[in-house]
């Protein structure tokens, strides 16, 4: 397959190699710099740090001084957890409803269920705030769950639909021919085979909810504060080094979750598929 190398080919390889290196650097550098900064001894956010210590992690885990951060983190996990569970159940049912249907109605449903991925969720956040206030419903964690649910459901819907299209229909026919009821086939064949897809989607949905700014920005209040919004507040007022420590904890938690999910579901393959 190898060809003779002309000057044009050499220049192509050089350009591709150089730009890729820059791209990788841009992708990785910020993550590494934040982690390094979180171990600094100084008050200021500087890289490289003058000395290394766990000082800011100590501050972050101090139950009194960092209480608002802890509350926000617990709220975020609570909302993300419920939104993911409810969103997954609804999305799996919806994906089952339209799988292998070629009709325009099925395509239209698919497009509308995926629409929060591209429609500006910031516009949606404001719309949700106006809707709930017109309805006279006071802000609460339940409202945040409803708002997040709509925005993160497409992640599970998409991965489940992808798994269902790869499912061999002959398996279900065989099961039916052997006398299995349709529900039995679903429980014993369909569900186990699409479970990794559902799990990968649920993982992405949970991460997306934990990280959601546009909806939380409008629906959360001082009483129901959410982690990204509190971090935004910390960045706007003082450049508190505890933000870097929060980043360190979140990155570690995500990495652990990601490795676990990759073992269970082949997450990295699914995300590029």
């Amino acid at each position: 397959m190898s060809q003779r190398s002309t000057p044009a080919d050499v220049s192509f390889n050089l350009v591709v190699g150089a730009i890729s290196t820059v791209a990788i650097l841009i992708l990785v550098a910020p993550v590494i710099i934040v982690i390094a900064t979180s171990f600094t001894t100084s008050q200021a956010l500087r890289f490289p740090p003058p000395g290394l210590s766990l000082r800011w992690y100590g501050e972050l885990f101090d139950p009194v001084r960092s209480a608002p951060i802890h509350t926000a983190a617990i709220n975020s996990v609570w909302v993300a957890g419920w939104a993911t569970v409810i969103g997954s159940v609804l999305s799996v049912l919806a994906a089952l409803a339209i799988t292998r249907v070629a009709r325009p109605s099925a395509r239209a449903l698919e497009a509308s269920f995926l629409s929060p991925l591209v429609l500006p969720t910031l516009s949606y956040g404001l719309a949700a705030l106006m809707f709930f206030s017109v309805m006279g419903i006071r802000p609460s964690l339940n409202l945040l769950i409803a708002g997040h649910l709509v925005v993160i459901a497409p992640f599970v819907f998409r991965t489940t639909l992808a798994s269902l299209t790869q499912l061999d229909p002959a398996l279900l026919e065989a099961s039916a021919n052997l006398g299995a009821s349709r529900f039995y086939s679903f429980r014993r064949i369909t569900l186990p085979l699409i479970a990794p897809g559902i799990a990968a989607g649920a993982f992405l949905a949970f991460i997306a909810s934990m990280d959601n700014v546009p909806v939380s920005l409008f629906l959360s209040t001082a009483r129901t504060s959410m982690l990204p919004i509190r971090m935004w507040g910390m960045m706007e007022s003082t450049l508190d080094v505890r933000i870097a420590a929060i980043a360190g904890v979140l990155i570690l938690a995500t990495l652990v979750l990601m490795v676990v999910m990759d073992r269970l579901t082949g997450l990295t393959r699914r995300m590029s598929a």
Partner: protein, 288 residues
């Protein structure tokens, strides 16, 4: 419910949509997604902040004021710059990924996914540390003697585009990698065997074949960059105004909800216009 699931479990290809299964999510979307947008549209037709009088005043004020028209244009421009920057960086990286061994592909995929799984707030925060006056970029430039005084990179469009490029690049890369993997290697080999250089093969074979993946990526990048409130407000500061910060300011600071609703719908139209332009480009590209 059990019967409905069972029907879907063995549904033959080309059958009807099973509405019993689609209804729960459909209703949730109607109540919590479609209805709020209708309310938003309704509120935009109030003429005053107190919402006592109906009228087109909010729309007229927004679309006749040069300041607000410039905000729309700047928001569009930011989305376009982000798409261009991510495209220039992502295509070469996707080519490297395609040529890499399975082990290296996994490493690259991990590098690409890691920022995506790091909170947007944290990624923005990282760029403050990097772009600040005493940040990494300025320290490096000054150590190399390239500049005597630190450059102001925060609160500039350039700084914001750089940050958004990192934040959005995975969204461009993931669809691009998928389509690169599906591309028929024989076509590339044929082009090379017929004497085409790598440049020519890239522009005449690889680029057209991977265009659908690029369009999917560009759509996500455009939609995400134009609505990136945190990055825009933290890195752009008070000097740069985009639609999201305008929406925030009008709704939660000034409490002019009708005007905020107009700005919000304008953001929606801006994103939809971008998506439609991209899909039109896709159709145009496939027929030529």
């Amino acid at each position: 419910m059990a019967a409905a699931i069972a029907t879907a479990g063995a549904a033959p290809a080309g059958d009807k949509v099973d509405w019993r299964l689609a209804t729960p999510l459909g209703l949730t979307y109607l109540v919590f997604f479609a209805a709020p947008f209708l309310i938003l549209l309704g509120i935009s037709f109030y003429a005053d902040a107190e919402q006592t009088r109906l009228g087109l005043d909010s729309w007229l004020k927004f679309y006749t004021d040069r300041f607000y028209l410039k905000v729309i244009w700047d928001t569009l421009k930011l989305g376009i710059f982000a798409v261009i920057a991510t495209t220039l960086l992502a295509y070469p990286l996707a080519l490297v990924y395609r040529a890499a061994s399975p082990t290296w592909q996994r490493v690259l995929l991990f590098i690409i996914l890691m920022p995506l799984l790091t909170s947007v707030v944290i990624r923005t925060f990282a760029w403050i540390v990097i772009l600040a006056r005493e940040g990494v970029v300025n320290q490096t430039l000054m150590a190399l003697g390239l500049t005597a005084t630190p450059l102001n990179l925060l609160q500039t469009e350039l700084g914001l585009v750089i940050a958004l490029t990192q934040i959005e690049m995975p969204l461009m890369l993931l669809p691009l990698l998928t389509i690169m993997n599906q591309m028929d290697q024989n076509l590339v080999d044929a082009s090379r065997a017929l004497g085409a250089s790598k440049w020519r093969t890239f522009f005449r074979v690889i680029l057209p074949l991977t265009l659908p993946g690029w369009i999917a990526g560009a759509t996500l990048v455009f939609a995400s960059a134009t609505t990136a409130f945190i990055s825009q407000s933290v890195i752009g500061g008070a000097r740069l105004v985009y639609l999201p910060s305008l929406i925030w300011q009008q709704s939660m600071v000034v409490y002019n909800w009708p005007f905020a609703a107009v700005a919000s719908l304008t953001l929606l139209f801006t994103v939809l216009a971008g998506i439609m332009a991209l899909s039109w480009l896709g159709r145009f590209a496939r027929t030529t």
